[in-house]
Symmetry: C2
Subunit: 401 residues, 2 copies
């Protein structure tokens, strides 16, 4: 069971979370819990670091900011004991959760969980401080954004857990954003691959890194609410889903910007001439389309970058204009990427056609298309975001009754 920041925001919420843990333990389950820091604590600690040092030593940053989870873990253990449940807190170095040395965004390398496992089988609930491990040099290392989710999945894998429940402030994964489509449905079961696409395409419920880890280790995830007693969404191996939808969900990302280079010299090595400098400038390029060259000499090259990288990308391309040789550079931040996702695409034809027809029927122009085995993404004008998502949601039969 993993409880994030909003789920352990204050002492009352820690008590609420502890009650859920107690219920599982009393039902005879062996329970390991991963907790984040209380609301505001990590921000406060990060602000202390920022005020103290301009360029900080990530090892000291880690020592400071990891203390928040340590506090929640101790308090949660105490709360459970108060409820008559045997429980103890574990810090990353006590288990140990071994990481590499990349402080601030360390990767977990190994969790020798024998000790923890013994205590669980004796009926003791383990409350583990999330977001942290111990480096080969015996220093605390934090795991970066979404680190507590990563802790939970890695621990579930190490313990061969039946399930890893991620408690959040939403009650599951929806077919699309319910703020845009009120008839969006909560998904009962979704495959790891689909969830991974959903996460990387803009659904904010889980971090891609956490889903990837769960997929690689076959960990069954559940996303559910800390505040309501409702079943959540199960994220499982594809094989476990008997009746597979063709399309499981529709994701979108407003964090896209489009760059078009008009009349680029159509010669070998041109892609390297464009994307090499962008890569050097740490600009992440996503969708790429090269249009057919009418005269065989010049071509148009369109691609997307994140909105925050747009200015840097444009500057870089202008600085390398001589090598690349293009007539014109167009930049457009007024775009959105809309994607339909579903493992059913593998065996069903016509999924892409439904998307193109639906957008066309609404008079929406598709600027860029990219596809993978289980998703189709289109770039359209941001003005049509809601219209496109609602129309696709209906077209793929996802609307709730």
């Amino acid at each position: 069971m993993k409880f994030g920041g909003t789920s352990v925001a204050d002492l009352d919420r820690i008590e609420n979370a502890a009650r859920r843990v107690a219920r599982e333990a009393e039902a005879g389950n062996e329970v390991a819990v991963v907790v984040s820091a209380m609301a505001g604590v990590t921000n406060q600690l990060v602000s202390y670091v920022d005020q103290t040092s301009r360029i900080y030593d990530a090892r000291e940053y880690d020592a400071v900011v990891s203390s928040g989870e340590q506090v929640t873990a101790g308090l949660m253990a105490l709360r459970l004991q108060e409820m008559g449940i045997s429980a103890r807190s574990w810090q990353g170095w006590q288990i140990p959760i071994r990481t590499n040395e990349v402080h601030g965004k360390a990767r977990i390398e190994e969790i020798p969980a024998d000790n923890l496992d013994d205590r669980l089988s004796q009926g003791e609930v383990a409350i583990v401080a999330g977001f942290q491990g111990i480096s080969p040099r015996n220093r605390i290392a934090t795991l970066g954004r979404g680190g507590s989710d990563t802790t939970a999945v890695a621990l579930a894998a190490a313990l061969n857990a039946d399930r890893c429940d991620i408690y959040t402030d939403v009650d599951g994964v929806y077919t699309t954003d319910p703020r845009i489509v009120p008839r969006a449905r909560k998904i009962e079961k979704i495959s790891h691959e689909e969830m991974l696409e959903m996460a990387s395409l803009g659904a904010k419920v889980l971090q891609t890194r956490c889903v990837e880890l769960a997929m690689n280790h076959g960990v069954r995830l559940q996303v559910l609410s800390s505040f309501e007693d409702l079943p959540g969404t199960l994220v499982v191996d594809e094989d476990e889903i008997v009746e597979q939808q063709v399309v499981s969900g529709i994701a979108y990302s407003r964090d896209e910007a489009k760059i078009t280079l008009i009349r680029v010299a159509d010669k070998p090595g041109i892609a390297a001439a464009i994307f090499g400098p962008l890569s050097d400038a740490a600009v992440n390029v996503d969708m790429i389309v090269q249009s057919v060259s009418p005269d065989g000499e010049r071509t148009d090259m369109t691609f997307t970058v994140t909105k925050t990288d747009l200015d840097r990308a444009v500057e870089t391309l202008k600085a390398h204009a001589d090598e690349i040789e293009y007539d014109q550079l167009l930049a457009d931040a007024n775009v959105v990427k809309v994607s339909v996702i579903g493992v059913g695409m593998r065996s069903h034809t016509g999924v892409a056609q439904t998307m193109f027809q639906t957008l066309s029927d609404k008079g929406i122009n598709i600027q860029v298309i990219s596809t993978s085995e289980i998703k189709i993404s289109t770039l359209i004008s941001e003005d049509y975001t809601e219209l496109a998502i609602r129309a696709l949601h209906t077209a793929y039969g996802l609307d709730a009754e």
Copy 2:
């Protein structure tokens, strides 16, 4: 160098402390620093624990409250790095500072400091989280009240440090409380034994436990101000003090209460009959006087307890009135213990006589007297506290010019 709570109360004060550390490091000294938690942090954490659990597991209490020192240590290391000084933070478990298993008031058992020592000799400043160590079962154990001072002294002993500087909000140890005697002088050098008596007799600058540890390991202490650039008071082996004062200081404690049992049966075992039940009731008895029995059958027994224990002591004695057999029980909380301290007493006669004569000259009645090798304590009416201390301070030649 040890910086207590007020010396690292906020980021500005951490910076101020860091500047002092930097100065020592730049002067070519190998420096280990022990820090407390920032102001209010430990109280906040203790309050969380109190709100979470009525009877708490001290191991979880320790995991929660020790996090404050961890934060200060990291921030101080960062601040020093920002000043161009090589520095790193160390938590109790990283050194390790090995303690016993008495969580909440653990005792340090061993500090294998080789690793730390190596780093110091490479010119790296060590910032050690005070107040904490690691138990034989790999849990964080805190050292209780004054724990950071204890960490500092134990570490100084383990490192064979030339000196252990305790930075506080006072600038040294005075011949007596300057709020009572404006002409009190700061003591330049005092012996461990005298400091120990001063601490246990009411001087609040250092905890007795810290002085005792320093005495047993021959650690040279210095008490000095974090806020002013003044030499402090050195606490050293007696041998190091060339010209010894007969009396070094005058201490007092208002936390005393007197109990007198009138006409107790003067028979063997009577002391056990009185003090056994008090001990069982966890009442600490200090000064004891048994007056000469005029008839050989009955005697008066007078002793002191702390003010907070007075009610419990009286109840206990009333409950055991039948075994003890006394005519009357008198309790008086309106008393103060005034003590003169000095290793010079060993070789000089007349020190006690000066005390008795001085008090007598001022019309102050001595109710109880107790002596040790290097101190004489008298119990007098609390109304005469200031008068007695000022008179004695003058009589022993302690007034500043």
